[in-house]
Symmetry: C2
Subunit: 321 residues, 2 copies
């Protein structure tokens, strides 16, 4: 095995039939990851993190969130961070979406030159209430003018849909209920839907069934992304099932940021490195340099003062010792 | 979510097409797991562990190894342990294989009433040399009389084949080379072959290709088992690929025993609990009670003085706090 970086010649690329040739990774570490870490990271470190992610070949990097600082103090510096990413925002090969909760957030993002946004919806009433203090209907009504204005400005708009498989209050979530909310976000003008397994309980057959319901109901598979959490270790198996259904956009978090392995609050984002190992092993192009990405996650773990929960990062790091 | 045990109604069972209705889990925690832990566990604790595994519904439990104590001091008490499992050995619903390296080990196992054995081969010359101090040919020659005598005694014989996907010295391992050694073990009389990804580098297309090569070459899929390590987080995605090829026997280690998450020596066995979560989510029967199994792994982690690396065990444990 090589002493630095990847084991020589590994992962061995053995394509499987019926899978996409290329996958776009939607990197969420800087937003979803850092939002769920206890440590508040300085703005300059965040800016360096996003630059390093771009340097590792990631082409879609969700940068931050314009939610009220009271709710997400970790990302209270969104308006300071975005100007530090001006060089990346100007790069036509890069996409740097930001999360906006409402029209005020959208206006702030537009002023700073953001060209892509995301809104964050829920498939369940319980989580809509807990996260947005609204019913599902009220939250969709709140998003509608945001999406309309963003689209009128020529922006891409991603619609996150959380609790698509299970909900901590409601248990299993019926596929028809999820598909109903998803179709409303799509009809509203969202250019992409990200189907979130927020508590990590999904299994591959459930993923296949939900995707079939949505594509059968008129949402093109090109507009669907999957967002899995590794809480029960299922994220990569679920990703494989989604790829087999034709999904080509997969969310992941560098180093598994946002999911400390031994913390009760673990959200367990799928680690981008674990995802890239599988995709490259399947001969699927991502544009990502796995060694540089892993080094970035080790660097960020040092900023946070704890090891990365990504198995691939740990394995590559142990090799280097 | 329920305060004790499984989140209510989860995992939700949503079967996928083309998968087996039932999977036999070959539980390796007491042998492969404990063999790779630093802590040497007292014989009475091992006996209790195997009994608890059986109590959790596992029906194939690899109990120990009759290798020379010099090589595996953790399992030096094999001859003391087996008599403490007499009640389980007498149960026709249970299978308790033990690893034997040679004829001397087989004779000791037979004297103690063992009814099923395993031999441990390698797909690569480098690992055959490192692990057995023999060439691949020499190791097969050593196994031949062992397998013949065991079969003559009416025993089932499992042939482990390690380094089936990558090797730490040789890098990627050609599929034809693996299939060649596998066919020789099969022709020798092994009733089951366990294809091991000893360093955890496999990806799903590679798994599919190797299985296709073997079944196309005359080894019935019913006689094939898969043994994945989670070193790079790929074990469960690889398992899904194997199920899609018709494999119905999957090796796993309760609580992920044998793979300490932050140790350099991590071998990263697939955790039985993570496997069971996926299988039950797919509506595949295993006979395992996930809550009882998880409690067993928590108990064993206490004996070892460190948390379980299984994500499912951690998630279920955190819920209970």
């Amino acid at each position: 095995m090589s002493g630095s970086g990847l084991p020589e010649g590994l992962p061995m690329a053995v394509p499987a039939g019926g899978l996409p040739a290329e996958v776009r990774i939607h990197e969420v570490g800087a937003r979803d990851g850092l939002q769920n870490e206890k440590t508040v990271v300085p703005t300059s470190v965040k800016a360096e993190f996003v630059h390093r992610l771009a340097g590792a070949g990631l082409r879609t990097i969700e940068a931050t969130s314009f939610v009220h600082p009271k709710w997400v103090p970790q990302l209270a510096d969104a308006a300071e961070l975005v100007p530090q990413l001006a060089d990346l925002l100007a790069d036509p090969a890069l996409r740097l979406p930001v999360l906006v909760p409402n029209q005020r957030g959208l206006e702030r993002a537009l002023e700073l030159g953001v060209r892509e946004i995301a809104v964050f919806g829920s498939a369940t009433e319980s989580f809509a209430r807990a996260n947005l203090n609204r019913t599902v209907d009220e939250s969709l009504a709140m998003f509608e003018p945001v999406v309309a204005r963003a689209r009128a400005e020529g922006l891409r708009v991603r619609g996150y849909l959380s609790m698509c498989f299970g909900d901590p209050w409601e248990g299993p979530v019926p596929i028809g209920q999820v598909a109903g909310v998803a179709r409303r976000l799509h009809a509203m003008g969202c250019t992409e839907l990200s189907l979130g397994d927020t508590i990590g309980v999904a299994t591959p057959g459930h993923v296949t069934a939900l995707l079939a319901e949505l594509t059968g109901g008129g949402v093109p598979v090109e507009q669907l992304a999957v967002h899995f959490h590794d809480t029960y270790g299922q994220a990569l198996a679920n990703t494989l099932a989604a790829l087999q259904q034709g999904v080509t956009v997969v969310d992941a978090s560098a180093g598994g940021l946002g999911g400390c392995p031994f913390a009760k609050s673990a959200t367990g984002n799928l680690a981008t490195e674990d995802l890239v190992w599988m995709l490259h092993g399947l001969g699927i192009r991502t544009g990502v340099d796995l060694v540089r990405l892993s080094a970035t996650s080790v660097w960020m773990a040092e900023q946070l003062g704890r090891p990365s929960p990504s198995r691939t990062v740990r394995a590559l790091t142990h090799q280097e010792q």
